[in-house]
Subunit: 466 residues, 2 copies
């Protein structure tokens, strides 16, 4: 149908304006007439700009007048009056935990894990559960302009299938942990499952499979090294929680005589393929090490505040050259949503109050963290994170036709402090329109909401709540 | 038209079921079948509950089956699948500053005030400016479920007219400050203007006029006392910034030998009519004094973080018996929006990370701060803040039909951490429906957005930006 329309349009066009038609290249999609916030190296902003897309990639970005001269497309999205940005990157989450959203909040992390989440997971998590949780998370994330997310959970192969079905880009980490998990009951099983998982998704256009050793306090040196070796065999990233808790630092100093970051380095795990979530308890030496080894870090302000974990020294890490992205963390107990625009806002405000300096992280800094620096943190800066020729066509349109969007004195400030996830109107991932004018096109939202409510009831029953 | 419909309905009903019709009372509006979060003294939550409204007040709240038996109405709002709550109370803001939203962020408070905001105000603020800013703020606040706000600005009489026109409830403070303001150029003028303002709005159903001496560091003892005396003459509240900055505390200790709160008490200003915004630099003695004198406090977490002002000891103040509400503060330089649901979320998270204890403020605590405790802080707990017979019918319906709203294990947790301002679907203030299914009924939104953009351009020109 699309093909047919295009052919007809080309024919009409060819008859009408023979000469100019010959000079125009066909593309699959043009996003036309918006304020294009490229996040390229020059941080160029193009007023009345357009983005031309062919297949899953960006062919050209520039002033609308130039793009119109050079390209023609059967599909044009009118972006006038909107901001056009690279899709937001949620660098750390556990998407199936949408189904545990708000299960038991306002308790200590230890109580939450041992009394509520571990029992809830043991009784409820299976492949079907993670499929529905992933679908719900896809709906929620697309609605808030997230186009790529990095996940750590169980049954990650099922998560990958659902992520791809929703048209989202995912860096999906299968968990290694030194106790029987809901999917794999031993390290041998974890290794076998993950190797199959890595093999299966090699070369996929949307999915990057990865091993995810949970942390230094739940994985032995051997588990950490085995997971890293597997990642390196398949050129996959390594997703891991690092220095999230004070106890983790204290125990590491006691057991290994060094910090969590130094310990990971000393056993050969730290490297340019590591994505380290949290990085709260890091000192100046750790920061230097993270920068030298080109490991990426992901800051999760909502989660760190909600669990009272501590505050990551993000301004210092950035100054030291560490790539720092942003994450929501899981939507249960530690947030409780998947709205990355709130993390943009919060990252700036948390840094300001922590440093007692309103200049600690500015609006542009935190928009960078949600886009190009998030891409660097996931080691995907060649593919995503900015609107540039050759990159994947992951694009969000944000409405400026809302009371909270006017007037606009500074674009980055507006994105960071005034615009909301709910202002995202259209989302394109790899050239595919997954939400148009707030209508989801790749997720059956009513079915997902209904199923989520059913899971809510069955989880309550399993825990004998109410 | 409405009257006509009601008559017809009554006639039909009377013919059909003579007996039961005689036992039913007529009301003007029934909100039917929702999950009613009353915020009454017992914090009752009614599943499949209804609220009956006559005139601007609540006639009854209870199970739908009971309300149906006792009342009939020509106007029924179907709340099935939604939460029904008392409207949110924004206890501290400067609504016309919507038109300066994002004018210059990420600078120190001193630079922001002296280099940007004071010059911008001197060049741009007049009665027409505050009218448009108030209309924009009304649109934004209604969209996020705010039904009452407390304001401090200039030309407050014009703000009152626009607040009433938008159907919102306002506690509106005309500023006293010891330098020429955009409206009044001397204390004598401020007193005369404010006395007229207080007289004009006495007994109004929506507007409570008030004097707003800016702070102890911008008002002399005489100005503070004159403003307080005027308030007391007309039984109006006194709105004031208190202990927002470290410098304010230090200077007060140096000049008066006591804290800002103690100083206000020593000069007879502190009392059960004071609404003290911020209260960051307060010690245990100040907390006791605030509680004893029954002054209300308003916590503004976004603003305090954005301006790096400090963190108010909210859990301690609550424990001491101080009524603490929530505010957005002004939407320029210090937030930058008027979404009170973000403050609910943030108040909890900021308290947790500050105390390094996830139990510091729980979900119910912060929902209280946005509703019944916000009413107490404004000294309006007899009128608003909960859904109870005799109170004003200020009611919001929040959709649970969104990906971020499911599943639901705990209602307060969902409100505090997962639901968004954009999930508010219908808003009723004093029995009048001001937003229905996200359509604003009292503000000409397109006209307001266009005018706000125009003001953006003229403000830029006045400051020779771009």
């Amino acid at each position: 149908m699309m093909r047919m329309k295009r052919v007809i349009l080309i024919v009409i066009f060819a008859v009408g304006t023979m000469a100019s038609a010959q000079t125009k290249q066909d593309v699959d999609l043009i996003i036309s007439g918006g304020t294009v916030v490229t996040m390229d190296a020059a941080r160029a902003i193009i007023h009345d700009g357009s983005v031309a897309v062919r297949g899953d990639s960006i062919i050209a970005v520039g002033p609308s007048s130039e793009i119109e001269k050079r390209y023609r497309s059967p599909q044009v999205i009118d972006a006038r009056g909107s901001l056009v940005l690279p899709g937001f990157i949620n660098g750390h989450t556990h998407v199936p935990m949408t189904l545990f959203r708000g299960l038991h909040d306002d308790v200590t992390l230890n109580d939450w894990l041992r009394k509520y989440i571990f029992p809830a997971e043991a009784k409820n998590v299976n492949a079907e559960f993670v499929r529905w949780g992933t679908r719900l998370a896809a709906a929620e994330q697309i609605r808030a302009g997230v186009t790529t997310f990095a996940d750590m959970y169980y049954f990650e192969d099922a998560i990958a299938e659902e992520t791809k079905a929703a048209g989202m880009r995912g860096v999906l980490g299968e968990t290694f942990i030194d106790f029987p998990a809901p999917d794999n009951k031993s390290e041998a099983q974890m290794l076998a499952y993950t190797e199959n998982f890595l093999k299966r998704w090699q070369g996929d256009s949307l999915i990057q499979a990865a091993p995810a050793p949970h942390s230094i306090y739940t994985c032995s040196k051997k588990t950490l090294q085995d997971a890293a070796a597997l990642a390196r065999k398949y050129h996959a990233p390594i997703l891991i929680h690092v220095a999230e808790m004070k106890k983790e630092w204290d125990d590491s100093e006691k057991e290994h005589g060094m910090s969590p970051v130094s310990y990971l380095n000393s056993i050969g795990v730290l490297g340019p393929d590591v994505v380290a979530a949290h990085c709260i308890y890091v000192d100046a030496d750790d920061e230097k090490l993270l920068a030298e080894k080109r490991a990426g870090c992901v800051h999760n302000p909502s989660s760190n505040m909600m669990l009272a974990s501590g505050v990551s020294p993000v301004p210092d890490m950035r100054a030291t050259g560490v790539a720092v992205g942003l994450g929501t963390d899981g939507p249960a107990g530690s947030n409780n949503d998947l709205d990355l625009m709130e993390e943009i806002d919060l990252a700036s405000k948390l840094a300001k109050i922590t440093k007692m300096d309103p200049r600690a992280l500015n609006a542009k800094d935190v928009v960078e963290m949600a886009t190009i620096d998030g891409a660097r943190a996931l080691h995907m800066e060649k593919e995503i994170g900015s609107l540039e020729t050759g990159k994947k066509a992951d694009v969000v349109l944000i409405s400026l036709d809302e009371p909270n969007a006017v007037p606009m004195y500074d674009i980055y400030s507006q994105i960071a402090y005034s615009l909301k996830g709910s202002d995202v109107e259209t989302v394109i991932i790899g050239g595919r329109v997954v939400m148009r004018d707030r209508k989801l096109l790749t997720v059956d939202e009513p079915a997902v909401l209904e199923k989520a409510r059913e899971y809510g009831e069955s989880v309550k029953k399993s825990l004998q709540m109410e």
